[in-house]
């Protein structure tokens, strides 16, 4: 198992959390974390791993920080 930090932004926080440490099997992808929280991949506007954009198939490694945001347009 590896530990990753999951940060949720905007409406993804509703009924979930702001930040959480999650234990996941080695090789878990961004997409697997997303669907594990009941979020569909299509709902995700931005996925960052350690501040860099990452595709849903990106495998996570121990200590990664994942930020997930719904479609938000801007300011």
């Amino acid at each position: 198992m590896i530990e990753v930090t999951v940060n949720l932004l905007a409406t993804f926080r509703t009924d979930r959390f702001k930040e959480e440490q999650q234990q996941v099997p080695e090789g878990t992808t961004v997409g697997a974390v997303v669907s594990g929280m009941g979020i569909t991949e299509r709902e995700v506007g931005m996925a960052l791993v350690n501040g860099r954009h990452a595709p849903m198939a990106h495998p996570l490694t121990h200590g990664d920080v994942l930020h997930l945001a719904p479609w938000i347009a801007g300011g």
Binding site: N7, A10, T11, M46, H53, P70, W71, I72, A73, G74
Partner: protein
């Protein structure tokens, strides 16, 4: 019949003129820029008698099209020395459009040191001397004019505009008697140079603007509104969190200007986030989703109240929150909201002033994070026009020069707003090349760079595709700025195939034309080229299309640097 109202402040005379044919199909920015380019000598002093201040409602303003009430203000900018167009919401554009006024052109400067107000109605413009409101803040002006004239549209300048500070803005009365602003580029100083304290716009006796084909218009307007509501950005994000939704996003991506653009992340980001703003407002009984004009379905604005539930400010934008919150490290929404209110009342651009404060902090004028010091600076120095107040009010570039600061985030002397161009390179190209000086709204590449909204993903940290993206966005933005539509319409326009055809249909149904989407692109290109030609004639070259040197230093924590060469940036203008 549409007409032009012209006010000559030198002779104190007003005239009503027919619309010259080349201007007949224009509105908003396309029109203000065409007029300024034709009538203002590019090398003139921006605060002298040869500059002109031009207002033009958007082409769809005054109709039932949602989010169509933006007013463009244009002139030569005293801050940048370039041509300037700055647009704002509020109620003024709709009144001007209903009056059939395509443009209000104000020229000349009166003799003597008296002040004036302009009354605009269906007969034309009357110039009246003003004494009572001189020196007053914008809120007092709005309140006094409501008592005097009823609920008219109002354009006003505060003490900053009277003192011709280079960051002075022009405020517009919103639907609730509060303010929106033509913020950028010091147009309030131009209005002050013409000694006009306010312009009251009386739409009494006017009806909705006429439509060539009202059935077609209604149908298209419905499709347009639906496209806005269906887009997650305009239908959910902005109504829920306002533009402050960007704080956490930009922080996560490492592009949140912090400590005068030294870092790209702020440790107290949650204290100033859109999520916290919303919770705070709801908890205190304010309004988290407020429209600045009738017919707004997005409602990105909000009414922020203090702990006792008393009104503090509305339209608290990401830019102001970020630049005071993270860049000046104040990290306290109550202080930021109070500062926003003070800047609105004094009539000074909250972007330019907040960035100037960050530079002043770097120069040792006050410590980073000193929120009370900032409030004191605004209350005592800015409002009264002390030497320090005038220094801050003359913008970030001048503050940097006076205090020997080398990290001065400006392009063409206009402050860079709340996205670090090293970590979001697309917006850097817009800052560098915009005809307006650094301006995120001129081609908002942030949404595409970070979220893939508005035209596919372009990696924010790579150079690939950024010049093309910024060019595409800047051309499209002219369309929105000319139609009188909120910038946010850019998101459904790019992502929803029904949106642009609906806009074209509305325009054709309004004027009885047969324009195509390509016509818009052409309008964008012509307008940008007109603006650039003005700037070149005013002395600007490609060497001014550059970001400050310090952006070549790595940005913590990502280590990103600004690595575009001049030649690469100059490709922007290849169209």
């Amino acid at each position: 019949m549409d007409k032009i109202y012209r006010v000559n402040m030198s002779s104190l005379q007003c005239s009503v003129e027919p619309v010259p044919t080349p201007w007949a199909g224009l509105g908003g920015r396309a029109l203000t820029s065409a007029i300024v380019a034709k009538e203002v000598p590019p090398t003139c002093h921006a605060l002298g008698e040869n500059n002109k201040l031009v207002f033009a409602p958007g082409m769809l303003s005054g109709t039932t099209a949602v989010n169509s009430g933006r007013l463009s203000a244009g002139a030569k900018s005293p801050l940048t020395g370039t041509i300037k167009e700055s647009n704002a919401g509020g109620t003024a554009a709709q009144v001007l459009a209903r009056l059939g006024v395509k443009a209000l052109i104000i020229e000349g400067i009166p003799k003597g040191d008296g002040w004036y107000g302009l009354h605009v109605n269906s007969d034309g413009v009357t110039i009246v001397e003003e004494t009572e409101l001189i020196g007053k803040g914008n809120f007092a002006v709005i309140e006094a004019l409501e008592k005097r004239l009823g609920k008219t549209g109002v354009l006003t300048i505060g003490p900053a505009g009277e003192m011709k500070m280079l960051a002075a803005n022009i405020s517009v009365r919103d639907i609730d008697g509060k303010l929106r602003s033509h913020g950028r580029g010091g147009l309030g100083a131009v209005m002050g140079s013409k000694r006009i304290k306010f312009i009251a716009l009386d739409g009494e006796g006017t009806t909705a603007v006429s439509l060539a084909d009202s059935a077609k218009f209604t149908q298209a307007a419905r499709t347009f509104a639906q496209a806005i509501m269906n887009h997650p950005g305009t239908g959910q994000g902005l109504p829920t969190y306002g533009t402050a939704e960007m704080v956490n996003i930009v922080n996560a991506a490492g592009g949140l200007p912090t400590r005068n653009f030294l870092h790209g992340q702020y440790h107290d980001n949650e204290k100033i986030s859109g999520e916290t703003l919303r919770e705070t407002i709801i908890e205190r009984g304010g309004n988290p989703s407020h429209g600045c004009q009738s017919g707004c379905v997005i409602k990105c604005s909000q009414v922020f109240v203090d702990k006792k539930g008393k009104y503090v400010t509305s339209g608290l934008e990401y830019e102001t929150i970020e630049i005071l919150g993270a860049n000046a490290m104040i990290g306290d929404l109550d202080v930021i909201a109070e500062a926003d209110h003070l800047m609105d009342d004094i009539g000074i651009d909250s972007i330019e002033t907040s960035v100037a404060i960050g530079v002043a902090m770097d120069g040792g004028v006050l410590p980073f994070g000193d929120g009370q010091g900032v409030l004191r600076l605004l209350r005592e120095d800015l409002r009264a026009g002390t030497p320090l107040g005038r220094t801050i009010g003359s913008g970030a570039g001048n503050v940097g020069k006076l205090y020997g600061v080398t990290r001065v985030p400006v392009v063409k002397n206009q402050a860079i707003p709340a996205y670090d161009p090293r970590a979001i390179k697309g917006i850097g190209i817009t800052y560098a090349t915009s005809t307006m000086g650094a301006d995120h709204t001129a081609g908002y590449a942030v949404a595409t760079n970070l979220m893939g909204v508005g035209g596919g993903v372009v990696d924010p940290l790579k150079k690939d595709g950024q010049v093309e993206l910024s060019r595409h966005l800047q051309i499209a933005t002219v369309m929105l700025d000319s139609l009188g539509l909120c910038l946010f319409i850019g998101f459904p326009s790019a992502d929803d195939p029904t949106c642009v055809p609906a806009i074209v249909d509305m325009l054709n149904a309004r004027f009885g034309l047969e324009l195509t989407p390509e016509w818009f692109g052409g309008l964008g290109i012509t307008t940008l080229k007109t603006e650039r030609a003005f700037n070149q004639a005013a002395g600007f070259t490609s060497e001014h299309d550059r970001l400050p040197e310090f952006f070549r230093e790595p940005l913590a924590p990502s280590g990103a640097v600004w690595d575009f060469t001049g030649d690469e940036i100059d490709q922007f203008w290849n169209f």
